[in-house]
């Protein structure tokens, strides 16, 4: 009876395993091999550190992603805790609007940045009205930063809100009655309680920024982030081995970040619980 049931269960999970093996594991293994069989050989994998051009791309992508992650956590943290704590007219609508861009592809986000800070953008319009000249930054690193924050905020804010829901107001009350000022309450009570959520959503934010392609592609900035370098090597320079090696490196970075964050968030959650 149970043996028969196990056979059925195996039958039901088999298609998913076949799809994953044929279209994910096998291609990824091929990618790893191809990355090592170009004219550089296995050294293609170290080129991201030894070649100044690739290293520069890797470094600027990491710096950009870290900055975006920190900024997003601060912005979404303030707005998320506020929305979870306070109930007022229009709150639901505000939450819906803040999560609307979740489904925007990176290209659309890039276009939104052009709307804000492009050559005919709103910000330039405003600064030139005030006689400060037309401020255009969509096509610089500031434009990339703006776009990455744009797609990160909706992703992070829901996680923060879910975590803030579990905060115990009595703890803050206690801290306040013991004479803690608002700043101390935030640092000593609220932040530690939000830590698992901040780690988890921060890691997702970082990994997404590292691999983001559409936004950088639309803005066509002169700062080369790693995904753009991979794309250029593959399509324009037909340097397939190097593109493969660089994407393996990129994939390992994003995967490791997410895996580590789960360990870290799990550990702090256990410690807090």
């Amino acid at each position: 009876m149970r043996g028969r049931e196990n056979r059925f269960l195996l039958l039901m999970v088999a298609p998913a395993i076949v799809v994953g093996a044929a279209f994910f594991l096998l291609p990824l293994a091929r990618l790893a091999v191809v990355g090592a069989t170009g004219k550089l050989g296995i050294a293609a994998y170290t080129a991201v550190v030894t070649n100044p051009q690739y290293f520069q791309a890797l470094a600027s992508t990491i710096v950009l992603s870290v900055t975006v992650t920190v900024a997003t956590l601060v912005i979404a943290g303030i707005a998320g805790v506020f929305l979870e704590r306070n109930h007022f007219l229009g709150r639901e609508a505000l939450i819906s609007m803040l999560t609307l861009p979740l489904a925007f592809p990176g290209v659309v986000v890039g276009f939104m940045v052009i709307m804000l800070a492009g050559r005919t953008g709103l910000i330039g319009e405003i600064t030139s009205t005030f006689g400060a000249g037309r401020l255009v930054f969509a096509y610089s690193i500031a434009g990339l930063f703006t776009g990455y924050i744009y797609f990160s905020i909706p992703r992070v804010i829901l996680t923060i809100m879910a975590a803030a829901e579990k905060l115990d107001p009595a703890l803050e009350e206690a801290a306040r009655s013991l004479g803690a000022n608002p700043w101390r309450v935030i640092v000593d009570v609220i932040l530690p309680a939000l830590k698992p959520a901040l780690i988890a959503s921060g890691a997702i934010c970082f990994a997404t920024s590292m691999g983001a392609f559409g936004t950088a592609f639309t803005l066509a900035t002169d700062i080369k982030v790693l995904p753009i370098v991979i794309y250029t090597e593959f399509t324009l320079l037909a340097n397939i081995a190097l593109a493969a090696a660089l994407s393996m490196v990129l994939g390992i970075i994003t995967w490791a970040t997410l895996a580590l964050s789960r360990v870290a968030a799990g550990a702090t959650a256990a410690a807090a619980g």
């Binding site: 990824l28 659309v108 276009f111 709307m115 794309y231 593959f234 994407s247």
Partner: protein, 265 residues
């Protein structure tokens, strides 16, 4: 209840964040309906840019829709039974399978696309068909279906229901279709909405994998941003917003709260 100054300060900040996200959306909608955006709205409103978009890009709109529906069909058939097995036999082996199934979420779409092209690019007919795009979309969305259904099935003890049905003589398949699926409905709906939304908006994989004959809506958008006037790009974006908004509203209503692992910008 009296509001403190902190309340108003935080409200102002939240509204500022909200306008950062929405003002450009609004601007692009206006631009798509304006005769000449550089002159401004005083040049008059028009739907002719929508007409141009329809002429140039209508096939991409339909292609995106049927690829999304095909992706949904595959993720339902492949993902729902898999999630059921994972929920029914929690343990080391199923834990590993789960990790393996959701792994594509952790890898940038660009890398997955390259891997697929390197491995299957030689099969010309497959490479140039929309089936190739479908494979990419299934890979990328399957984790969301599996997770969504798994979350619902793990949240209550469906095995007790199954056992009582079994004691009344219901066979394996009857229990699956009669008990498991109806009880997993909310997870299936949420998963389905996520899959369709993600598939319609997918760019990173599709840009690498598409051919001129298999261009999807987001690929067409990138093309219009690069080579058409601003009004056409905006009108095209407006079409995208119209397609995606009902899905998002439904997702906010029926979606599982956890959007933690949504990715793909």
């Amino acid at each position: 209840m009296r509001r403190t100054p902190y309340f108003w300060l935080q409200l102002a900040f939240t509204l500022l964040v909200c306008s950062f996200l929405l003002v450009p959306v609004f601007m692009s909608i206006v631009a798509g309906l304006t005769e000449n955006f550089f002159v401004g709205v005083k040049s008059g409103f028009t739907t002719r840019w929508i007409g141009v978009v329809w002429e140039l890009y209508a096939p991409t709109i339909f292609r995106s829709m049927y690829i999304a529906l095909a992706t949904l069909a595959v993720t339902l058939v492949v993902g729902v039974p898999a999630a059921y097995v994972l929920a029914k036999r929690p343990g080391m082996a199923t834990r590993l399978i789960e990790e393996f199934l959701v792994l594509p979420v952790a890898i940038p779409g660009l890398a997955i696309a390259l891997a697929l092209i390197i491995t299957y690019g030689g099969f010309r007919d497959f490479r140039t068909s929309w089936g190739f795009i479908l494979v990419g979309h299934v890979l990328y969305t399957l984790p969301f279906m599996v997770r969504s259904v798994l979350a619902v099935l793990s949240s209550f003890n469906f095995q007790v229901l199954e056992e009582s049905a079994a004691s009344l003589g219901a066979g394996f398949w009857r229990r699956f279709f009669g008990i498991v699926l109806p009880n997993a409905r909310s997870g299936i709906v949420a998963g389905a909405l996520t899959v369709v939304t993600l598939s319609i908006g997918e760019f990173n994989l599709t840009w690498m994998m598409h051919t001129p004959e298999t261009m999807t809506l987001p690929v067409g958008l990138a093309d219009s941003y690069a080579s058409m006037r601003l009004e056409i790009g905006s009108a095209y974006t407006l079409v995208f917003f119209i397609m995606i908004t009902p899905l998002l509203v439904a997702l906010q209503r029926y979606g599982v709260q956890s959007t933690r692992t949504r990715k793909g910008a």
